[in-house]
């Protein structure tokens, strides 16, 4: 049986089909998101925003028109997967290196090469995630220019790879600039290429985390998920291969995995995160308040007990009533604060369940304890196994909007 980079063609075909189907769905959502941003968000940036709006609309149109071609490719991949007798239509590029995948079949105008278009498409998805995250960050925090610029750069390179009738995978201007600078600095072209790839992955990592940071923005969530899934898809498709695509796919997969291990933007930049350990991980997607309640009671009241009373998706102050009822008296108090100084003062007073808030991001509840060195230990129920990390006063002042603690 013919193979592609050592992969079983039937399996590969199925993986490509699944990946493209998912990517097509996400691309449709991203196209809608880009139009929404162009219509609703860009005007706040003034003339530059209008320029960005025009670019976003064009990119959204490009994504939409590309969906039809993706559907054609999906059909081709499906045929290759199901008709193993025709598997010879997928031929190895040889040498364990990435190269064009020849279908040799009627592909509805797709053309003979697909890798440039698949990678181009995924670049558009990833670039779109950066743009969406960057716009959100710029609007609410005054930062985000790098994700926007790099995202547009990536999307444009992806769009060229996708749309132009040749086998080229276009390089981003960012990557080209870095590579040229590296060569000028004395690196070999090959070394410079890897430096460029690494730098772009680093930028992408930052943007990926930014997308997670802005995940409360529905648009960013949509795009961020698409980027995650795209990364996973690349890894699956290229999993059996070798060479640069495989390495880049691993990088994308690492980005997706790192993002999945964050409970929210408050974990961005936090060092020394310990997953698992002495933390009650929330049992349900939205039971963080109940899990924090169990930690606040030292395990005397279980998450399930609290959850059965208050349900999921509740503000931290719902703990006051339920824990007082369960403990038989006014043993717990709490409130929402109007500024960071109040939050810090309360946090210094002892352990508390704390509601974290970032504008336009879904609220989250953790358990916080003051440490002797002036920092605070956070027991975060929000990742898969829960997480424990240390933060400083600035973190408390920025993120803690309310808390519940044992009454004095």
């Amino acid at each position: 049986m013919a193979n592609f980079l050592g992969a079983d063609t039937a399996v590969l075909g199925g993986q490509v089909t699944a990946a493209c189907g998912k990517a097509a769905t996400r691309a449709d959502q991203i196209a809608a998101s880009l139009r929404s941003i162009a219509d609703n968000k860009c005007p706040v940036f003034g003339p530059n925003g209008e320029t960005l709006a025009t670019q976003l609309r064009e990119l959204a149109d490009g994504l939409s028109s590309g969906l039809q071609r993706l559907a054609a490719f999906k059909a081709t991949a499906q045929r290759n997967a199901t008709e193993q007798d025709k598997a010879s239509g997928i031929q190895s590029a040889g040498g364990g290196q990435s190269g064009p995948m020849e279908t040799g079949t009627d592909d509805g105008g797709w053309g003979n090469s697909v890798w440039d278009e698949v990678i181009g498409f995924l670049n558009m998805v990833g670039g779109g995630a950066e743009v969406v995250a960057g716009v959100g960050l710029l609007e609410f925090y005054g930062v985000g220019a790098i994700p926007i610029v790099h995202g547009l750069d990536t999307m444009y390179a992806g769009y060229r790879s996708w749309s132009e009738p040749n086998d080229e995978i276009y390089e981003t201007y960012t990557g080209k600039f870095i590579r040229e600078q590296a060569i000028e600095a004395g690196y070999t072209p090959n070394e410079a290429a890897w430096i460029s790839t690494g730098a772009e992955l680093a930028i992408g990592l930052g943007s990926g985390l930014a997308a997670k940071w802005a995940k409360g923005i529905k648009l960013a969530t949509t795009a961020g998920s698409a980027a995650d899934e795209a990364g996973e898809s690349i890894a699956r498709v290229a999993g059996a291969g070798g060479g640069s695509i495989d390495d880049m796919a691993r990088g994308a997969d690492d980005v997706a995995r790192a993002a999945a291990e964050e409970s929210g933007p408050w974990m961005r930049g936090v060092k020394g995160v310990e997953y698992g350990g002495e933390v009650v991980a929330q049992s349900r997607e939205l039971s963080c308040t109940s899990a924090a309640g169990e930690m606040l009671t030292g395990g005397a009241v279980k998450e399930a007990q609290i959850l059965s009373v208050i349900g999921e998706d509740q503000p931290v102050t719902r703990l006051i009533g339920v824990l007082n009822d369960m403990s038989g008296g006014p043993n717990y108090a709490g409130q929402f604060f109007d500024n960071g100084a109040q939050a810090l003062e309360a946090a210094r007073g002892g352990p508390m369940a704390a509601q974290l808030q970032v504008p336009f991001t879904k609220a989250h509840t953790v358990f916080i304890e003051p440490l002797s060195d002036g920092r605070f230990l956070v027991r975060d129920p929000g990742t898969t196994a829960g997480a424990v990390y240390k933060v400083g006063e600035a973190w408390i002042k920025q993120y803690v909007a309310g808390g519940v603690w044992r009454a004095e």
């Binding site: 609703n40 959100g136 409360g216 923005i217 529905k218 648009l219 960013a220 969530t221 939205l286 998706d313 509740q314 503000p315 102050t317 719902r318 006051i320 108090a333 709490g334 409130q335 929402f336 604060f337 109007d338 500024n339 109040q342 003062e345 309360a346 007073g349 002892g350 808030q357 970032v358 504008p359 336009f360 991001t361 879904k362 609220a363 909007a401 309310g402 603690w405 009454a407 004095e408």
Partner: protein, 78 residues
């Protein structure tokens, strides 16, 4: 509810009892009424709501509402 489009503003804070206020808000174009109670613990003055004014998924931050309530409360308290 689309988190990115959620908006809220405090329209009115009216005292109803000692330390308790009726808060009228407009959240995503809908009028909403909650009761805010000013409390103090650990040396910090803050507010509890009944019910909580926002859908947590909206990402709307309660701190500006707390600030509005405390401003009225402090203005009335010598």
């Amino acid at each position: 509810m689309s988190a990115n489009k959620s908006t809220a503003q405090v329209d009115q804070v009216t005292p109803v009892a000692d330390g308790t206020y009726q808060v009228l808000l407009t959240v995503d174009g809908q009028r909403r009424e909650v009761v805010a109670t000013v409390v103090a613990s650990r040396g910090v003055e803050g507010v509890t709501f009944e019910p909580y004014p926002f859908d947590l998924s909206s990402g709307l931050d309660p701190r500006p509402v707390v600030a509005a309530v405390l401003a009225v409360h402090r203005g009335e308290t010598p």
